[in-house]
């Protein structure tokens, strides 16, 4: 098979910020041209840092990266001409109108005169901003601002579009509308999209491939179907009255795993998480098995598999803990609450 050169290729990116904050610890990303790729992970996992390096904003301590065939360190200018960037924060100028923002952006890429006017009109129409084109951006709704941000990133018809948390902070209606826009973009001839998100549902819906990122590296990568397929069944979480010692864990794990319909048993402090084909049916057997060895259970819940379960499985820690650790370590990234897309 003849494989075309990747649109984005990052190898072993390492980045440490002052104060020994490790943002990336060996990040590898490969995105095939014309596809939508999702980087999924909690705040502080390294998604934004990866995007900053790939978009020439930040330099890695070590590692290499090419975007649209250009080395980000050696030819940042060529990379900048080939990419469109929609950052986490809206970079639109609030006192300028939507049209003025687009015109300036186009001029920076060398568009002039009639060609610029045409392109700006085209984008305003495409992103349903034609009526608001003459209004200052500070009066736009969150959804309108986000659509303008995407339009700004597309003004020069880039080869690779970066969407960093495109729907964070949007209300559900605006989020659905943005998803539709991105889906349409994905159909554009040859456009490659690298999307970061902390919503499983979003990655699932938009990306052809997903990489789950934790503590500055990719822990698992695959198509959404493949990742979800591995999480078939229900998750049963049991809160123990007291923690089980290491030796007890091994035997407990064995006896629980032996129960019918139980696939996987994970310990996390006083918590045991089990994946079972039918969660409700498995609970009595699980409780019985624990009672037999004298382990008291304080609470048991059954849930459809969630992003948290994917995380626990591949990152070895809970999503909420990863978020909390990230928030205390790095205050620069957004600390918006994570909507766990349970049952998505």
């Amino acid at each position: 098979m003849n494989t075309p050169a990747p649109a984005v290729e990052a190898r072993q990116l390492i980045k440490t910020y002052p104060g020994d904050v490790t943002a990336l610890s060996g990040m590898d990303v490969t995105v095939e041209p014309g596809t939508v790729f999702g980087l999924l992970g909690p705040n502080g996992a390294g998604k934004s840092t990866t995007v900053k390096i790939l978009t020439t904003l930040a330099r890695p301590d070590s590692g290499t990266a090419t975007v649209a065939g250009h080395d980000v360190l050696r030819h940042p200018d060529r990379v900048r001409r080939a990419i469109g960037v929609v950052a986490q924060k809206s970079g639109a100028d609030p006192v300028a109108t939507g049209r003025e923002n687009l015109q300036l952006q186009g001029r920076l890429y060398g568009l002039r005169g009639a060609a610029l006017r045409r392109r700006v009109d085209e984008l305003l129409a495409r992103f349903h901003l034609a009526d608001a084109a003459g209004r200052q951006v500070k009066g736009y709704s969150g959804g309108m601002q986000r659509r303008l941000d995407v339009a700004l990133g597309l003004v020069h018809r880039p080869e690779v579009l970066f969407l960093d948390e495109p729907t964070t902070g949007l209300d559900p209606e605006a989020r659905t509308a943005m998803w539709d826009e991105i889906t349409r973009l994905a159909g554009d001839e040859g456009l490659t999209i690298l999307l970061t998100t902390h919503y499983l549902e979003e990655a699932d819906r938009l990306a052809e491939r997903i990489a789950i990122v934790d503590r500055g590296r990719v822990v698992v990568e695959g198509t959404p179907d493949a990742l979800k397929g591995e999480l078939r069944g229900d998750a049963v979480h049991m809160e123990l009255r007291e923690a089980v010692g290491d030796s007890g864990r091994t035997s407990l794990k064995d006896s629980l795993s032996a129960l019918p319909g139980v696939h996987e048993v994970l310990f996390d402090g006083r918590r045991i998480s089990v994946r079972a084909e039918d969660g409700a049916a498995a609970v009595p057997a699980l409780l019985g098995a624990l009672e037999r060895v004298g382990v008291g259970v304080a609470a048991a819940t059954v849930a459809r598999p969630s992003l948290d379960d994917v995380y626990l499985r591949y990152a070895g820690r809970r999503y909420a803990d990863a978020e909390a650790a990230a928030d205390s370590a790095e205050s620069t990234e957004s600390t918006e609450n994570l909507a766990l897309a349970g049952g998505a």
Binding site: V85, A87, E100, Q105
Partner: protein, 259 residues
């Protein structure tokens, strides 16, 4: 600098000028405050001119260059707030991911501040004229004053931008500005003739760039200008402006590394 960088500087300057004009409250305040100073100080200190050493017939004649320079300082020292806002909003990073010349981003600040200060200075000069001030040095003297004020504005605008990029805290900019504005103004010949100032104050004033701008402007505005005064003070301001812009460009590079 390539023609491309020049056009881009113009695009970015236009954007900044437009941002200033779209905030009418800011524009009005920027013009009313000097008028208030002219009126208040002009009346309060009217009689000090009788002490002698001012080299002008009325106190208002003496005061106008002082207010022009003081206003150039007070409007430019807040430039860092705008830069800080652009960083926090993500606007600066958006531009940095485009092929725009890095120099154009910085130069636009300088050009915008220079133009704004020049307009503000001209308005104060006209207000002074309206109040009865006399400018015996004619157009040449007034041009020197406007250029000197713009250079001083560039110095403090660039320093404020550097501060904004370094500390990234509004409180620090507010604190430093509040601390500096009045001492810098009063440790200069803004309101009082040098010969009437205590000796130690006069010596400090000699090293105060505000004083350089006032001395350059006032010398050029007399009927028989002492051009050596104008050249030394003007040269000092120019050197300082170059140094401050260089420093803020360095800070900008440091910012880019910290992203």
């Amino acid at each position: 600098m390539s023609t491309n960088a020049l056009t881009q500087t113009w695009f970015m300057t236009q954007r900044q000028l437009m941002a200033v004009l779209r905030q009418p409250a800011y524009v009005v305040l920027m013009l009313i405050q000097p008028a208030v100073w002219l009126f208040l100080f002009g009346n309060l200190f009217k009689k000090v001119v009788e002490l002698g050493g001012f080299g002008t017939t009325t106190y208002l004649d003496y005061l106008v260059p002082g207010i022009v320079v003081m206003s150039a300082l007070s409007s430019n020292m807040w430039a860092g707030m705008g830069t800080l806002e652009e960083i926090e909003r993500g606007t600066l990073n958006r531009f940095l991911t485009t092929p725009v010349s890095r120099g154009a981003l910085m130069n636009a600040n300088v050009v915008q501040q220079g133009l704004t200060t020049a307009v503000q200075s001209v308005v104060i000069i006209l207000l002074g004229k309206l109040g009865g001030a006399d400018y015996p040095g004619g157009a040449a003297g007034l041009v020197v004053l406007v250029v000197a004020a713009s250079l001083l504005g560039t110095v403090f605008g660039a320093l404020s931008n550097a501060l904004g990029m370094l500390v990234r805290e509004r409180e620090s900019i507010i604190g430093i500005n509040t601390f500096l504005l009045l001492p810098l103004t009063f440790l200069s010949s803004a309101f009082m003739a040098p010969s009437q100032m205590p000796g130690w104050m006069r010596h400090i004033a000699d090293f105060n760039p505000l004083d350089w701008a006032m001395v350059a402007g006032r010398s050029a505005m007399t009927a028989n200008p002492d051009w050596s005064d104008v050249l030394t003070r003007g040269g000092g301001l120019l050197a300082l402006a170059v140094a401050a812009v260089w420093l803020s460009t360095r800070t900008f590079r440091a910012y880019q590394r910290s992203v």
